[in-house]
Point group: C2
Chain length 125, copies 2
DNA sequence: ATTCTCCGTTCAGAAATAGAACGTACAAGC
DNA sequence: GCTTGTACGTTCTATTTCTGAACGGAGAAT
């Protein structure tokens, strides 16, 4: 996967790591999906997206950050990376059971957004 | 989401603002509470905390960022700021109805954290 | 008068992000 | 063989954000 890593494409470390062992389960959950993009990647997975380009196009996140977050989600067991093509080696990212268990939290956020952040646009939820 | 920028202590603006008008209600919700600390401040409010020092001690967040997030939450209508003391003018931050509506999402995160992030020591220690 | 508490603000250095270009691997077309 | 197109990342630099510590001010307590 990674070639010579002269410089580590590091993940957030300082304060996030403390959250991972916090007494509060909400904080521990946020240590995994509490950054700007990660929850949206998980949402995209729920919507059936699974490929790098799909996430990138959908979210508008920079490729660097997307690459970083996908690695982190795989490392955390939220996503699973499997080859969907062997000849041009390509990987698909799909939710694990651990990832699918975010559904209630996502629904809570969805309901809040619909109620408190209305918008008039061709919504296709 | 334009916020009072009386000074240069501006709040995250570039990509977060786009989320606020995203077609997806989850993204719109995250434009409000999707950063590292904001959801934890809301959690603290659910736990009965209401004062600057309480949040700061509880979270370990820097005072600068805490000040910024509280302003943002008040501007977004998630928290209400009321004086609890007039002589040494002090304000308490409490959840509005809009803020209390985060309960389902928080419970979802809590359940996920309890199930998938059991408390354990960091590897080294 | 001095110290203490509470609620922030300011500053410099460290870290993360944005935006774009670059690399690799394979397939199809010329 | 050479170029173009697609998919999946990596590398680069400039900008933005965060951390950590110090500073300030207003009243309270000693």
């Amino acid at each position: 996967m990674a070639r010579a890593k002269t410089k580590e494409a590091s993940l957030p470390a300082s304060k996030w790591d403390e959250l991972a062992t916090d007494w509060c389960p909400v904080a521990r959950a946020l240590s995994v999906i509490g950054d700007r993009w990660t929850m949206l990647i998980v949402r995209d997975c729920f919507l059936g997206k699974s490929r790098f380009e799909e996430f990138q196009t959908s979210l508008g996140v920079t490729r660097h950050v997307l690459s970083d977050r996908l690695k982190r989600l795989v490392a955390d067991g939220v996503l699973e990376r499997n080859a969907y093509s062997t000849r041009p080696l390509r990987y698909a990212y799909r939710l694990s059971e651990k990832g699918r268990d975010f559904a209630p939290a996502l629904i809570g956020l969805k309901d809040w957004g619909k109620k408190h952040m209305p918008i008039r646009k061709p919504a296709a939820v």
